[in-house]
């Protein structure tokens, strides 16, 4: 079993203290969400009313809320395991979602089975809600594949790493839903949801996605997780106006939801998807949240933001507020929380075991499925490379069996 090379960070040359401007930018960028913020569950775990959206969470009883809690705890647990696996050299990189569990679980659980999701690369929580086994994500980061699920079956597209590309792909898909008459009052009506971050909003593809979806009335929910930071750059480097307000310029609704409030994310996304399914799309949702960890395991946030900021956001933790609500409002016993914790630890073990036991891809893996109809060039290169490969003593070879015929 070979191990991918661990990424070695460059030697730090006395990381500078953030400048006053950076500090101010960071504080401004991570302030409260403002008066328009939709919230149903306060950071203290109190259920508050929002007449516009209460109806979209009316069916969430204690069992449903416990299920949302379980989702978030499990997702956080394997996310932390991903970080640990990188630190131990088992994966080249991990992209943590810490702090964004509510934004992702709320949106993901708002989807109907027939809806389609287009993720960025941090959407492990949305993947979870699409019934993708977390172990099927780890190959992307260990370097054994680019994903392995069937996007048609799971209704969850592959991760898109080029920032913003998926906003156009999602728009095109949603246009197809409309062309196939899947928009309307019917029970089979569909919508698409597209995930991206605050940094992506500066990309032309996001702008073009907004333009195209609006002129074609495409049933797509643009779900922007504003986690305040695009690697090292605060919102001030991307926008003068709150991001949700941009929708107005394109002629469709934009709404800012407390991205750390799973109930509000669920309700608002349910509303938005329903709007799209019935022909009132597109809709922009800005889930106002916080990236509690680094951009990736290769990043060092201490170079550009203050630790105090994180402490502020810890008070708004997406999981803790649900736990408090379950205890205080619903009298849920400790036994439940212990069982979820135990389940999450089991998941982490399975996640780890799967990762470290992923087989080395065969030497001809790289030639596989470049084209649907093949290519004589690639066939010739594959043949020549395998012949070269077999010219060595195969005993002790790193290579597994050829995937030919597999």
């Amino acid at each position: 079993m070979s191990v991918p090379h661990a990424w070695t960070p460059p030697t730090s040359v006395d990381a500078p203290t953030p400048t006053p401007e950076q500090v101010v930018a960071g504080l401004k960028g991570t302030d409260e969400g403002g008066p328009d913020l939709v919230q149903l569950l306060t950071p203290e775990g109190e259920r508050v009313s929002d007449p516009r959206f209460d109806g979209y969470a009316a069916d969430v009883d204690v069992e449903s809320l416990k299920a949302l809690y379980r989702d978030m705890v499990l997702v956080r647990r394997f996310d932390r395991e991903g970080n640990a696996l990188q630190r131990q050299g088992q994966v080249g990189i991990w992209v943590p979602l810490l702090g964004q569990e509510a934004a992702q679980i709320g949106a993901g659980r708002a989807m109907q089975p027939q809806d389609m999701a287009f993720p960025s690369y941090r959407e492990h929580g949305v993947a979870w809600t699409r019934d993708i086994d977390p172990v099927d994500l780890i190959g992307i980061f260990r370097g054994t594949d680019h994903g392995s699920w069937d996007p048609k079956e799971k209704r969850f597209h592959y991760y898109t790493i080029v920032i913003g590309n998926q906003c156009l792909n999602a728009t095109g898909y949603a246009m197809g839903q409309k062309f196939e008459s899947k928009v309307g009052e019917g029970a089979d009506a569909e919508a698409t949801i597209c995930f991206f971050g605050d940094g992506a909003t500066s990309q032309g593809d996001v702008h073009e996605g907004f333009v195209w979806s609006s002129v074609y009335d495409a049933p797509v929910v643009f779900y922007c997780q504003n986690n305040q930071w695009a690697i090292s750059e605060p919102n001030e480097r991307q926008t003068r106006v709150p991001l949700y307000k941009r929708a107005q310029g394109y002629g469709f609704p934009g709404i800012r939801v407390d991205g750390n409030d799973v109930l509000a994310c669920l309700a608002v996304t349910r509303w938005a998807l329903e709007e799209c399914r019935t022909g009132n799309g597109p809709v922009l949702i800005e889930a106002f949240t916080y990236r509690m960890d680094a951009h990736t395991t290769s990043d060092d946030p201490s170079r550009y933001r203050l630790a105090d900021e994180l402490e502020l956001w810890k008070l708004k933790d997406p999981i803790e507020r649900v736990r408090v609500n379950l205890v205080r409002q619903h009298g849920v016993e400790q036994e439940f929380f212990d069982s979820v914790q135990a389940e999450s630890d089991e998941l982490a073990v399975r996640f780890r075991d799967h990762c470290v036991n992923l087989p080395q891809p065969a030497p001809d893996r790289m030639f596989s499925q470049v084209y649907a109809e093949g290519s004589p060039n690639i066939d010739a290169q594959r043949e020549a490379y395998l012949a070269y490969h077999s010219s060595f003593d195969t005993e002790g070879s790193l290579a597994g069996p050829s995937i030919e015929g597999a």
């Binding site: 898109t160 590309n165 792909n169 728009t171 593809d205 596989s368 084209y371 290519s375």
Partner: protein, 324 residues
């Protein structure tokens, strides 16, 4: 048999493909009511409606990016890029998504998308309307790249490209759009990804594609006066290259001249030269000669006759090869 221009041949081919498969849609700037600036999509909107012929917003990344999404959904989009020099806003989507999704998903998602691009110069146009960017696409794994040179190929190749389950960048020789030739609508076309001997000959092999192919045929006629019997091969497919017929020819003639409008450095012509010297080293009587544009941005149009390989420059290349 019927006489068609290249523009009309592609139009007829598009129509045939759209009639055959309701998932085929045409999208691009001005492709609907106007019928495209070269009228290649003329009349399609009237007959197939707005959900199959899309006058899109003016954004090339949007055209390709939404075509990718439509293909994921099961459609077979045919995108028109209005001019060669306007494709670059869409290049990111072409390289990052269109070319890679089949590989990324290991075949779970197919990308049966055609991107039509009128290419090449010789029309007296302003900047960005006369370029030959084919190498930028041929170099990208996951794409297939073809170029037609005559009405019959235009008619069949567009239909074959649409039927392909792989993304095809389809280059159209814009300065030949209005040239007419006979098209046999009942013939069985050769496979899409194959080159074709356009003229049999024995003393030297001329290889080209797109607009200069016709110039090569004219050069072959002119060379007869000097006693040269040139074989002319139309590459038709630029990725993957089909060099079997070229190698077979060079083994007989011992001489190869590659003609293209694109700048020579790191070009399709360069790849042909490299591969033929690998495959035909012992047959070559002379180095492979390239007759191409120059490694400069496409010049102002009053200079384009200096840039484009014309009959005399091709014959000069032939003479240099023969004199070796």
């Amino acid at each position: 048999m019927t006489r068609l221009t290249i523009s009309k041949a592609i139009n007829d081919g598009l129509r045939a493909a759209m009639e055959r498969d309701s998932k085929v849609i045409v999208m691009g700037e001005d492709v609907g009511k106007l019928g495209g600036v070269y009228r290649v999509t003329d009349g399609l909107l009237k007959d197939f409606g707005e959900q199959r012929v899309l006058d899109t917003p003016l954004a090339e990344s949007g055209i390709i990016g939404t075509a990718v999404g439509l293909a994921i959904r099961g459609f077979r989009p045919v995108c028109e890029i209005q001019f060669d020099g306007f494709v670059f806003p869409g290049y990111d989507q072409i390289v990052s998504q269109l070319a890679k999704l089949h590989f990324r998903t290991q075949g779970k998602v197919r990308m049966p998308v055609v991107v039509r691009i009128p290419f090449g110069g010789g029309i007296g146009a302003v900047e960005h309307h006369s370029e030959s960017p084919e190498a930028l696409f041929a170099h990208v794994a996951g794409l297939k790249v073809v170029a037609c040179s005559n009405p019959a190929d235009a008619y069949w190749m567009i239909q074959q490209a649409i039927a392909s389950d792989d993304p095809v960048i389809f280059f159209e020789p814009k300065r030949r759009y209005w040239e007419k030739a006979e098209v046999d609508l009942d013939s069985e076309p050769p496979p899409l990804f194959s080159s074709r001997v356009a003229r049999k000959g024995s003393t030297l092999t001329l290889v080209s594609y797109g607009a200069p192919l016709k110039t090569c045929l004219e050069a072959a006629t002119a060379a007869e006066a000097d006693g040269h019997d040139l074989e002319v091969i139309d590459l038709r497919t630029l990725s993957p290259l089909d060099l079997g017929p070229v190698a077979e020819s060079v083994r007989r003639t011992g001489r190869l001249v590659v003609v293209a409008e694109a700048p020579p450095e790191t070009s399709v012509a360069a790849e042909v030269a490299a591969r033929i010297q690998e495959e035909c080293f012992h047959s070559l009587e002379a180095p492979v000669i390239r007759v191409t544009g120059f490694d400069v941005p496409y010049p102002p149009s009053k200079c384009e006759d200096d840039f484009l390989p014309d009959l005399d420059r091709i014959l000069d290349g032939v003479d240099r090869s023969m004199a070796w």
